[in-house]
């Protein structure tokens, strides 16, 4: 399967990265990791590119890590449609101190607008 995993640097996006890489290693996915500008994140895109590349290398898979500038939700959808991806994978939301799950703004936009299937990783 051709999978596009979007990560913006929040903790839930790093779980999505981990899960996508692990899955690609066993399912032989054609994986692309898109590093997005997420204003809600404190991690820098350079950090994320490095982290994603390290995850790919340690899993021993062949996956592309790509910086994506501009509005993260719409850019992800554009890439998925233009390049024929089967699925978009994103973090499944942050958890408040209370334990409430809040879906991020990128996931909200992608869920409502994508033509591909969307997986939110919990």
């Amino acid at each position: 399967m051709k999978v596009l995993c979007g990560i913006g640097g929040t903790d839930d996006s790093l779980r999505a990265l981990e899960r996508s890489v692990d899955r690609a290693a066993v399912a032989d996915d054609d994986l692309t990791i898109a590093v997005l500008d997420n204003p809600d994140s404190t991690r820098t895109p350079d950090d994320l590119v490095e982290r994603a590349a390290a995850a790919v290398e340690s899993a021993g898979i062949d996956a592309e890590v790509r910086r994506v500038d501009g509005d993260p939700g719409s850019r992800l959808i554009e890439i998925a449609e233009d390049e024929g991806f089967d699925e978009i994978v994103l973090g499944g939301g942050q958890t408040s101190p209370m334990g409430k799950i809040t879906i991020g703004s990128i996931a909200e936009f992608v869920l409502l607008n994508a033509k591909t299937s969307v997986t939110l990783v919990r």
Binding site: P97, M98, K100, E108
Partner: protein, 183 residues
Amino acid sequence: MTGRRFPETVAGAFPDVPVPFVDAAGRDVEIRAYDGSDGAREALVAMYDSFDPADRAQGIPPGGDERIREWLETILAADCLNVLAWCGDEVAGHATLVPDDEAYELAIFVHQDYQEAGIGTRLIKGLLGYGRAAGVEKVWLTVERWNHAAVSLYKKIGFETSDAESFEMEMSLRLNESADGEA
């Protein structure tokens, strides 16, 4: 996460716990602060064990005894404020304030057997009275925007909408002036 907005004006009066009353179904109910006893904790676990998942909100309360206990361990910690609605030796409802960096997050649950009897309103007012007495300044919550009953309850209590841009609506309330005078 961007900073949350809170009202500048302090909300109206809230009662001190305990608050005894007769609910709309004629049952004797009392709102009391959680005392940390084993008995109170087990009665609360029992309420959540039989809680209808249809009334789950953003993933809480979780399902299954083990997950419920794990979740309660976090929100019954010493830095959190909890009140329970007791009907005899049964817990009918639970409201909690859980601190983050600058404010307290609020959540409230009333068991299905006790809903629509005026318990939720008494419970949240009792919690806010308890929180004010403990010096809590700012309170926030999130609620699914389609949950009109909850949204109108929060508005009636004095909560104001602070963020309406996401799936979940965020509302906030001020209980006490900030120590530094800043809103």
